[in-house]
Structures are given as structure tokens and as C-alpha cells.
């Protein structure tokens, strides 16, 4: 594609992980990468200069929100969202469909598009694939997403297959409506719920369109993690190896490590910035709720190994006094949480480039979970040749499998 050049320059010799450079119109991003979410054209009180310093390569904007405020006319007049918000690196916009279905209970999906009641005036409106692309062309992000027929990952039955085929048809309409193919990339979304047959059909159908990159959608909606990773892995097995793969809505640290091992290159999630507002700081062992009294006299930084401005300067005791009270308290944790995600991705990339990703995975999982690791993590990694239950020659770390999907308490 003229607007995207994807250069895979290192492959893990054990897992499906790879390290790449993704040349976009505004920036050359390094993958695997995490993209912070800036719903309304800003990321939670953080200036674009701070975002650059924090090593963010691509940020996300939400088409549904930006479409109502400030609206496509103003964004076009401003010369796109990049200029409007003074961000000159990479940008990705979603289609607006997911927001519509999750925020507006009254959304009704027809072949034409997503019908919804405008929360401002109560009028029934329609978002079609053409309109979504129109909005995204106005926003001008480096990567746009097709409008897809979103069904909950918990849905079963014929509705899943209907949505899958409709999403393919909507992709064709989106491609036709796309007016700036030399400046913007359109990514299709693999659908098919938790049904391997439908996922396979969807991916197979989409790759015929020869898109610049592909997304794996319809996951991270509360499904069992055992089903989640299998759908991700099945998709990456079918999608072309010379194109980027984007797993939507994924952002927990263990998910990023596992999915990278399964061959995913791009992620986004509101979690790191949202949880900062409540005073939760991310660390490799889990998350610190700095509001808790136990941090009152704690003079350690959030994370000794983090070199973000917050960790270089402040103790947990100081942060304890200000989180959830001042906007600066929120900003300090947001800065750290973004830095945390970015450092994790850099560490993943370096481990892949130096072909020691399996060792990195073992270290990471030992730090995060200790002895007991969720079954889905163990099985996902076994599927790509990393067995956490067998002690390695160095540290002798061997994990015990547990059935919980998530970590119950930080591993401290």
C-alpha cells in the first residue's frame, strides 16, 4: 500500500512473535506496539510533547466521539485531527460502531448500517460504512478501521455468522467509499465470535481484499481467556505474515506478552489511562492502589526500574497524598502508566530482536504471577513452544497451573 510499508526485520525462532517497522504517512512506528487511547482528541491531561517524550508512536481517536464533537466539518477545516490537536506522529481511528453499540442501548443493526437514537435530540440516526469512512477521511488518521457488525463475544447461534458475513460486505462498501487511499490505510476486522469455523471463514475472506493490515475484533468482551487466545492464534495463522495484525481492546500486560508471542503487532486499550484516574499505578507484578493507607510512609518510587518523570521524582508516599485529589495526581500516574506500557513493548521488541523472547516470557510470567500461572497463559504459550510448567536450565522456574483467568492480587 502506498500509505503503509511493513518491514518485518526480526522473527522469534520459537514463538510467532516478530519485530517490525511500520512506515506510516506521519511516523515510522516500531511493533509490537501499544497505542494509548485519546477518545476526544487528547490523552487524559497529557500534552502531545509529553506523549512524544514517553515514546508513543501511534495514538487512537474515537470516531463516534469526534464525529459529534468537534465534528467532521471543523476537523476538515483544521486540516485533520493531527493538526487540530498538534500531534505529528501516527494515529488510528476506530469506525465508531463499537462505541455506538456499547454506549447506546437502542442501537439497531440493519444491512444499511447501525441505527441509533441521538442522545442529544432523541432523533433516530444511521451510521453506515460509507459515513464511517467519510468521518474517518475527515479526521485523517494514518489507519482507519472498517465499520463492522459488532456482536458480543458471548453471543452464539446464527447471529454470529450473520454479523461475520455482513462485516465482509460492509468492508467492500468501506473500501469503495475510501477517498484517500494514498494517505490513509483501511484495516478490515476479522470477526466470527468464538467459533473457529467462522473465524477461519472471515479471515480467509478478508485476505482476498489485500488490505494493508488486519485487525482481530470481537474479543476482549468478557469471554473466557481460553477461548480468547485460541481465536487470536487461529487468526494470526491465517493472516499474511508480511502485514501488521492489530488485536483490538487488549492492554493488560500479560495479554500483551502472550498475544505478541502469538504474532500480534498492535494493541490499544483505555485501561492504563482510565485506571490512573483512580490512583492505580501499573507495575510488572500487577497494580498498586496508591490510595491505600499502606503507602502512606512508603518512600519507594512506584517502580525502581521505571525511568518515567514520575518514578524519577516521587515516592509512593507523596503520590498517596495527591492521587484522586488533584489533577496533577492523576497526571503523574497517567504518565507512569503510559511509560509502563511503552517500556513493556520496548522490552518485548528487544527480546524478539535479540532472539531471547522465550526467556523474556519466562521472566515476565514469574514476576507477574509467581508460582501459579493461569491456565490460559500456560496453554497459549505451550502452543508456540514455550512451556512454563517445565523448569528451564537456568533459574529452574516452573509454574503451577491454576484455573483463574486473572491475577487476584499483585505478586508481591
Amino acid at each position: 500500500s502506498p500509505a503503509l510499508k511493513f518491514e518485518v526485520f526480526s522473527r522469534c525462532s520459537t514463538t510467532k512473535a516478530r519485530a517490525s517497522k511500520m512506515h506510516l504517512p506521519h511516523y515510522t512506528a516500531h511493533t509490537p506496539m501499544f497505542m494509548p487511547v485519546g477518545t476526544m482528541g487528547s490523552i487524559k491531561g497529557i500534552t502531545t510533547r509529553q506523549l512524544e517524550t514517553l515514546d508513543c508512536h501511534v495514538i487512537l481517536g474515537n470516531t463516534y466521539h469526534l464525529g459529534s464533537r468537534p465534528g467532521p466539518e471543523l476537523l476538515e477545516k483544521a486540516g485533520g485531527l493531527h493538526k487540530f490537536m498538534a500531534w505529528d506522529r501516527g494515529m488510528l481511528t476506530d469506525s465508531g460502531g463499537f462505541q455506538m453499540v456499547s454506549l447506546l442501548k437502542l442501537a439497531n443493526i440493519t444491512e444499511e448500517g447501525v441505527e441509533f437514537e441521538n442522545p442529544h435530540d432523541g432523533k433516530v440516526m444511521m451510521l453506515t460504512p460509507e459515513m464511517s469512512i467519510g468521518l474517518q477521511n475527515a479526521i485523517g488518521a494514518d489507519i482507519m478501521m472498517q465499520l463492522d457488525d459488532v456482536v458480543s463475544s458471548l453471543t452464539t447461534g446464527p447471529r454470529v455468522e450473520e454479523a461475520m458475513w455482513r462485516s465482509v460486505r460492509w468492508l467492500d462498501r468501506s473500501m469503495k467509499a475510501h477517498k484517500r487511499p494514498t494517505e490513509q490505510n483501511l484495516f478490515p476486522i476479522v470477526q466470527g465470535g468464538l467459533d473457529p469455523r467462522l473465524r477461519t471463514l472471515s479471515a480467509t475472506e478478508l485476505i482476498k481484499r489485500n488490505a494493508p493490515g488486519y485487525a482481530i475484533g470481537g474479543l476482549s468482551g468478557g469471554e473466557a481467556k481460553g477461548a480468547f487466545w485460541r481465536m487470536v492464534s487461529l487468526s494470526t495463522d491465517i493472516l499474511p505474515t508480511n502485514k501488521p495484525r492489530y488485536c483490538m481492546g487488549v492492554g493488560y500486560a500479560e495479554d500483551l506478552v502472550v498475544c505478541s508471542a502469538l504474532g500480534v503487532d498492535m494493541y490499544d486499550c483505555v485501561f492504563p489511562t482510565r485506571t490512573a484516574r483512580f490512583g492505580n499505578a501499573l507495575v510488572r507484578t500487577g497494580s498498586l492502589a496508591l490510595k491505600q493507607g499502606r503507602f502512606k510512609d512508603d518512600q519507594e518510587p512506584i517502580d525502581r526500574d521505571c525511568d518515567c518523570p514520575t518514578c524519577r521524582t516521587y515516592s509512593r508516599a507523596y503520590l498517596h497524598t495527591t492521587v484522586t485529589k488533584d489533577t496533577t495526581g492523576c497526571h503523574l500516574i497517567t504518565v507512569h502508566n503510559i511509560a509502563f506500557q511503552m517500556r513493556l513493548m520496548r522490552d518485548i521488541r528487544r527480546a524478539v530482536i535479540e532472539d531471547r523472547f522465550p526467556e523474556f516470557i519466562r521472566d515476565f510470567m514469574q514476576t507477574r504471577f509467581g508460582k501459579t500461572v493461569p491456565r490460559w497463559v500456560v496453554e497459549a504459550l505451550q502452543s508456540v513452544g514455550v512451556d512454563l510448567t517445565v523448569a528451564d536450565e537456568k533459574g529452574g522456574y516452573a509454574a503451577t497451573v491454576i484455573d483463574d483467568d486473572f491475577q487476584k492480587a499483585p505478586n508481591v
Partner: protein, 437 residues
Amino acid sequence: MTLRFELKGAISGAGDASGTTGARMGRLVLSRDGDQAGSAATADTSIDTPNYLKYTRHGLQPHMVREVAAELEGMPAATRVQLEDFLADELPDYGKLGDGMHEFIGLDRSELLVLDTLDPTVPGRTAKSSNTFMGIDSEGGTRRLTAEVFARVADQLKPDVVVPLADYVEEPHPSLTQGKRISKSVSRSCKWLEEYLSKRKHAAAVFAPVMGSHSTGLRDISAKMLAGLDEVAGYVFNDVSLDVAFEKKLQLVEHSLERLDASKPRYMAGASAPDSAIRAILRGIDLVDSSYPYAVTEQGFASTYVFGGDSAATGSAGHVDLWQESMFSDFGPLVEGCSCYTCRTHHRAYIHHLLMTKEMLSTVLLQMHNMHWYQRFFAAVRESVGRGRLQQDAERFFERYCSDAGCAAFGELETLGKQESSPTTKIQRKRHAEQAQ
């Protein structure tokens, strides 16, 4: 650590020759040489006066983390912190928390740190003091701060300047007219100051609160006591909660100044708005604080007021309202030609959008501009004092922005007092309520 104040002699055309009253220029110089054994001698920090102390919350300027505040140039290297911000929970054991408050709040060593007790933007106080403690309302309920605890905490925090506890009088108070309450406040404050001085180990410079409220007689007593103390390095006027016109407050301040040592610096809380600051400076105040630009930011305004120079510059409002609908598609900077980070990087339409969508970046960007603007204002005021023209320039300034009824252009601080925290959402709600009417 030594702190000295160099007064640049009497200024012709304003005030009296001794510098007791009337505008004056000076320089606060902080030396840290030999603070720590073996540490390299550090350069002196100096702050030209009249100037402001940077207003903070929990030790950080509102909305701006360190690396954001670092985008601002020319700011005075002086920060004020109020202890009450850290009282919501039980006081931490600051003795364990590294090397004093500079380290705790991430303040550069080169900065002068002033530790006060109360937030100057909060006028109404309900907590009652007694003979032995200062009552402070906090989120966690009323805190009782004794002189002994204050001395211990101040020792642990090692600020450069300490404003000791004082029994500030709050209005309206029924016994005020009889003067008993004021009399008590003077004697308590005096006792607490002496207790602090006798109990402390860390030798911070003491800026002592000048008490006496309405009563000139009691002001005399307070001033006389303070003038006799060598340990007192500067004076603080905190009549924020006094329910009298600002001009009347200044008369009371002036009355005290005549009885104090004119060679020492004077800080006045509650004189942060540009008109108040000018009036206070004209009476001989050297330092105020930057709570005003914060109040401007909370309203969703960007400052435009200009002191001296081109009088035709901006309108008479002193600010632009970024909530206005006309900002929707305004791709100009907040102020044409402004060199602040916000104006160099963003346009009005974006800030308007951030306010409308309740994004926290709105107040970050506005605060950067408003602080830049405040600093510019003080530079212009100092220049005017230096040329002996403050009185004339001030008159022109008041003509432009004020009327006989007062200075409505700079009323943001009053609005701030009535507002709850969490800025953008609250303002949004207020606006909606107004529009619905």
C-alpha cells in the same frame, strides 16, 4: 542556607525615602553554600521583587506536573506550599521520607520553598482554634495543629522559609467589635511563634504573620512584638478571611508596616489578582502568590490583561472566555503573539473543544498560558517601579480594567471560593444551569 533581602534603596516618585511604605524593589537571595558537607557550592538563587510565590496544591502548581511547568520560562524560583494540603490523613512521618519537602514534592534544590499553613484561595474557615492548637478543616475532619507538632514537622520538611502558626480571625464573628477575639488572636499567635522558635531545630527563615485584624491598637502590639524579634526575617499579611474592602485591608497593612522593620520582605496573601497586587505593591508589599492565574484557568479563561506599554492592545475584560461559541472555529492562538507553549502549539478552537468535552488537558494548557501571562505582568510592574512610574501606570491600568464600582475584570478568585474542586466538570454543570434558565 542563608536568606537575605536586598532592598534597592528608596524609589523616587513613590513612597517615602526609608522604604517603609510605598512601592519598592528588592531581591531575595538564597545561598545554599555548605548546606551539606562535601557538596559542591551551588549558585545563589535570587528573586527580584515585587514578585509572586508560586501557588501550589500538594506542592505542585495546579494542573502542571514538573515537566509541563518546565516549559514555562522566567518564573521566579520561589514556591509556597500549605501544610493543610497534607493533613487530610494522619500526618506522614516526614522524618522517614528522605531529605525534606524539596525532595518529597519534587522541587528543585535551587527553589526557595515557603511553608505556610493555610490555602490562600479558601476564604471561609470554620475550624476553631484554642489556646493550644490551630484548628484546620480538612477532608479528614478538623485537624488540631499545636506549635510543638508544627515545629517537629517543619524540622522534618526543612523548608527555606516558615510561616509559623497563627490564630487568624474569621468574619463575621460576634465578639469582633469588642476586640476580645482579636486580642486573643494576637496573644495566641505571639505565644505560638515563641513556642515554635524555642522548639525548632532546623533554622528556616521565619516570615511571621502580622496580626491585629481591625484593631489598630492590637496591630501595634503585634507589630511591636515582631519588630523586636531578631529571628523574624520577613512579614506575612494574611487577612484573607477579614470581611472588609481590600482598600481598608491595605490601610491596616500600612498601619502595621509603619511599626515594622522596613528592611525585611513582606508577603501578602489574598492580593494575587492584578489590581490587588498593584495596590498592595503601591503600599510596599514585596510578594504575593500566583493563586490568581489558577482561578482564571478554573473559569475556562485565558488572560489578556496588559500592564503599561500599548494601551490599545486588548479589550477591557482582562481575559477571553474559551467557553464562548465563537471559539468553536477560531484557529488563532489564545493571544496573538504570545510566546507561551500553549499559544505556540495550539489554537482557541482546540481549547474550546477540550472544555466542551471535559478533557483535563484544557486546564493544563490554560494554566500554562495564564502563568506565562502572570509572569509577564510582574516583569512589567517591576520595570514600572524601576522607572518610578508605578503610580501613573497603575492609574492607566485601573482606568482600562476597573470602574468606580471595582475591578470586575479580575473577580475570578471570588468565583473560585464558591466552586468545588474538579474544575472542568463543575464549570460545565454551572454553564448548563445558566443556559437552562
